[in-house]
Amino acid sequence: MKRLGFYISIYRKIIIQDIKSKMSYRSDFIISMIGMILTDVSELLAFYIMFLNFPSVCGWSYHEMLFLYGFSLVALTPLQCLFDNNWHLRHYVYDGEFIKYCFRPINVFFYYISEDFDTKGLGQFFVGMGTIVYAWYKLDLPVTFVNIAALIVALFAASLFMVAIMNIAAASCFFLTNSGYIMVTMNKFRDYAKYPVTIFPIFFRIIFTFIIPIAFIAYFPSLVILRPAEIPFLTWFSPVYGIIFFYISYRIWMWGASKYSGTGS
């Protein structure tokens, strides 16, 4: 408990410094925020155009699809905001700069990840929340305490999966050089999380459920709210699975870091 308090206080200090340094490039901050929001809005427009021509996707209506998309955006916000430093890991490892993280008396993963707070991810959060609220209203879903609580738990569980996938992808740079394309390829999967997994044939459904579990980013957790009459077992299991999956990714990352021997410079 005392250790947790210690880590939280360190985290706060590091984040404040990081935000201060980012705020010195104010125009970059604003442009990045607009860019982020524009990306999400173009995606919404794509849905809108698609549903002008077609009535439904595999039994999912326009507003249900919007809900899934909004849900995936919010669930991906922690990845964007808190774990963005994973993208630089390969450069640090390659240059030998990573060694500095190994000499601190705190957890390497924690120290490395806490160094960057990506403010532009907040734009994504607001677009996602707005989309969820809009879809919620249009679908006439009941606003009850249980529903809201379920949404929060579901979002929390969902956020763990993509973080874990990207942790493993980033850790690949401890074993391979030029691992950037692994991250880019894995990162693409986040775009596919917004579709109901039922559109895929069984083979890919298994892959997207157990091996690259993107079905847990929006589809399974959303069922609690969207289709309360037919919640599969996997939905209930998702928080536990999320934590296990995240823990595995953390162990892989730490294992890679422990193999790291620097570049000798």
């Binding site: 490039y25 125009s27 860019g35 155009i49 002008l52 439904s56 394309y181 579709y195 895929f200």
Partner: protein, 268 residues
Amino acid sequence: MRIKACAALVRASIMDFMQFRLSAFVMLLGNIIYLIVIYNLWRAIYASVDNAVINGMSFNDTMIYLVLASAQFTFMEAYLVWEMGRSIQSGKIVLNLLKPVPYSQYLLFGIEGGNLCAFVVTFIPTFFIVQIITRGAIHMGVNLLFYLAAALLGMLINFAIDFFVGTICLYTQSTWGINIMKEVVVLFLSGATVPLAFFPETLRKIAMFLPFHAIYNTPLTFLTKGHEMGIGESFIMLGEQALWAIALILIGKIFWKLSERVITVNGG
């Protein structure tokens, strides 16, 4: 003399590409995964309308269009805005400006070789996979030549837009945000996200009026509808692209000339 320098740049970028062979295969793999997702998604969508032809686009047309748009992206996108942004921030741009070739040409020929390799290694295999999946729906005739010409012009237009946007980085010192905005606008208005045929009438008219559709929509139309179009019509489309390419390259050059003097490199 100039040609020799440019050939050297192309050769260097081919060698650079060869250095990262593995990444090409990962790109191809990414294309195949995208193909699987798009195939299933649009099959589900077309199932909801009993596989009809919507706005002149059948399921096969949509597949060819979207998958090859993504494959085209992998060989066209050279992350030029990144490259320019990084060399501006690091100060490396000063060295590039000292080269005996104008900066725009230095950049263009510096990516050309890589683009060419990516075309062979990722686009051509994806093309044949799509051809197999759609049971030979791509017409194999003179339209393929038109496609190649249109893709080349599309690449030039894409380059000109990148060069223009990269120049903006001289003023903003924000690379990520500028680049993502450019990418969204280009991919959306060029039809790479949703085929332009599905756009509502007004939006489609606006998109056709802008240069972006010439990057993806024009070449891809030669693949989906090329055999139905007359030779004259095909040449008009190529002509429009050529005009856009010339206009945008000129605008980019002028903008660069005006902006060159604001380059500030800290230290060095």
